[in-house]
């Protein structure tokens, strides 16, 4: 392992801050084993907003990354998806990963876009690609795919080439009919 201030900082985070977090949130937050450097926590969907507010007050001033993972078909119930947050504290050099399992018919977590401005586009991307809703998001629209796109492509049950056929028997004129101009 190379020498650097960050590794010692992660050790400090694990030793000092994580027990504080677990004490502040005795229910709904638990520590996961740390196989590779960055400590990780698992939080219930209802706990992520209070946890994020607590972390921001504790010095985590940057939301490094926000993404999601789909575990279908290994997990099909209320923990099908995992929303993964990476928080970063400058200048303490702490990096923390929080994983929030969500699922069910209408997967939903609280939005963090009022705490960190860059959560806004990142949450839009997760909604676009996975169909996970963010409660309280000001503008939850598609960001990478076109607005009329059907489905959420990074879900594991979305086929690689999409739901629609690329080659059809419908003649060109019928596929693209004349429509009156709307003002």
């Amino acid at each position: 392992m190379s020498k650097g201030p960050g590794w010692a900082a992660l050790e400090e985070l694990r030793r000092e801050v994580i027990p504080e977090i677990l004490k502040a949130f005795p229910e709904g937050v638990r520590e996961l084993p740390t196989p590779f450097e960055i400590p990780q926590l698992q939080a219930e969907p209802g706990q992520i907003r209070p946890l994020a507010q607590w972390l921001k007050a504790r010095g985590f001033n940057m939301l490094l990354d926000l993404s999601a993972v789909d575990y279908y078909p290994h997990r099909q119930g209320s923990d099908r998806f995992e929303v993964v947050y990476h928080f970063f504290a400058w200048p303490q050099l702490w990096k923390l990963r929080v994983r929030v399992p969500v699922g069910g018919e209408r997967p939903e977590v609280d939005s963090l876009s009022d705490l960190w401005p860059n959560a806004n586009p990142a949450e839009r991307e997760v909604w676009d690609q996975f169909g996970i809703r963010f409660r309280g998001h000001p503008n939850l629209t598609r960001i990478l795919n076109p607005d009329d796109f059907e489905g959420h492509p990074l879900r594991k049950d979305f086929p690689l080439r999409g739901h629609r056929d690329l080659i059809t028997d419908i003649p060109l004129a019928e596929r693209n009919p004349y429509q009156p101009i709307k003002e």
Partner: protein, 405 residues
């Protein structure tokens, strides 16, 4: 006409806005947007009151495609993300998978990775100065910058066989050994480069027109830059000396002697100065890596992960089996997830890889530094003149292959 492509909430906003404001749609087909960015600007006279970026025109589903390729094959699609510095993409992904596999890469491969990744950073920043110069109306820098970049691309061509999408860093080491004439071409480059760079530097950073156009434009305070998730040169221009190579060193970066340039004002001029000084620091690392290049194998000797040499395949049955197995099936990676950050030319490029123990990645999430830079544009553009918009976009240096993936 402008209204046609606007989204619903923007339409409402246009309907409800003040009488003296104008909504202007810029791009996506605009040469100064560095790719395909569409900005919806709200103007009061010539002052930008509000900017809304819209992107996704270059979305090719690279993350989805990577899930359907084997671990080694996924490198080729990841190359196409940040097309100005593909080697950084290779590096982040290879390091992440190597961590999951728990393998050690031989020292020669590690130092070659450092050398080429720094050359890649130089070449990427040279494109930045070339196109940035065109954006403020200077036509000469682009020819000088691309001429220097040509020398670097020639090195890549000799080493990896291709100039732009090298796919040279593989899981377990390198794709092939360094060529026989490597020392010669590197000595040639190290001799010529400083003089050529000096020429470009004087043309840009000491040019009064350039300074007038960039100083005090698009300011971001350190707190704002951190809150917007900016990393890399954009963050350091605001005075935050965060560099992944120093804070969380990978690839023996702690053994190299270099500095992290930091700006003071967080304006467009500082973003340019920081990048220019970064070129000089990268050149220092290139020299050190070239002089201290260790001897030895160029990829790990584990036959379950890296291909056996061709001569061995012709002699040994076992090597043939390994070759066949690696080419057809690939290898299994133990289950787990890893977040590996590297300092690419644009900032903290990180790969979050999830493995379920199969021969294909379960999820490859890339943290694109330009994605967050594009969404920090509204903060940078606030109260700017419309003529400065191009400069602000150029100074933030987004690459849309990476923003849209």
């Amino acid at each position: 006409m402008i209204r046609m492509g606007l989204k619903d909430e923007l339409q409402q906003e246009v309907a409800g806005q003040a009488q003296d404001r104008m909504t202007l749609s810029v791009g996506p087909h605009h040469p100064a947007t560095h790719g395909v960015l569409r900005l919806v600007l709200e103007l009061e006279g010539e002052t930008i009151v509000k900017a809304t970026p819209e992107h996704g025109f270059l979305h090719t589903g690279i993350e989805k495609t990577a899930e359907h390729l084997t671990w080694q094959q996924a490198i080729t699609v990841l190359d196409r993300m940040d097309y100005l510095s593909p080697l950084s993409n290779n590096l982040g992904y290879s390091l992440a998978v190597e961590k999951l596999l728990g393998i050690e890469v031989p020292p020669k491969a590690v130092w070659t990775r450092v050398l080429l990744a720094e050359l890649q950073r130089i070449s990427s920043h040279l494109v930045y100065f070339g196109t940035g110069g065109v954006d403020v109306g200077a036509m000469t820098p682009i020819f000088l910058a691309f001429d220097i970049r040509e020398m670097i691309l020639d090195i890549f061509e000799e080493v990896a066989g291709s100039r732009l999408h090298q796919s040279y860093f593989r899981i377990g080491g390198l794709q092939q050994d360094l060529p026989a004439n490597f020392n010669e071409i590197m000595r040639n480059f190290i001799k010529k480069f400083p003089e050529r760079l000096e020429e470009l530097k004087s043309l840009i950073l000491e040019n009064p027109i350039f300074i007038d156009r960039t100083k005090g434009i698009g300011k971001l305070s350190p707190e704002e830059a951190i809150a917007h998730g900016l990393t890399g040169p954009n963050l350091r221009a605001s005075g935050v000396p965060y560099d992944v190579r120093k804070a969380f060193p990978y690839c023996d970066y702690d053994k190299f002697d270099f500095e992290v340039p930091v700006g003071q004002n967080g304006d467009c001029y500082d973003r340019m100065v920081v990048r220019m000084r970064e070129i000089e620091e990268s050149f220092k690392i290139v020299q050190q890596a070239f002089e201290g290049m260790p001897e030895g194998p160029f990829r790990c000797e584990d036959r379950k992960i890296s291909l056996p040499p061709k001569a061995e395949v012709k002699q040994s049955m076992e090597a043939l089996i390994h070759h066949f197995k690696l080419v057809s099936y690939g290898f299994d990676v133990p289950p787990g997830e890893v977040y590996q950050a590297v300092e690419s030319a644009r900032g903290e490029f990180a790969v979050y890889v999830v493995s379920m123990g199969t021969n294909k990645p379960w999820r490859v999430r890339v943290r694109p530094p330009s994605f967050y830079a594009v969404h920090a544009l509204p903060a940078m553009l606030k109260n700017c003149q419309i003529a400065d918009m191009v400069v602000v976009i150029a100074a933030a240096d987004p690459v849309f292959g990476e923003v849209d993936r």
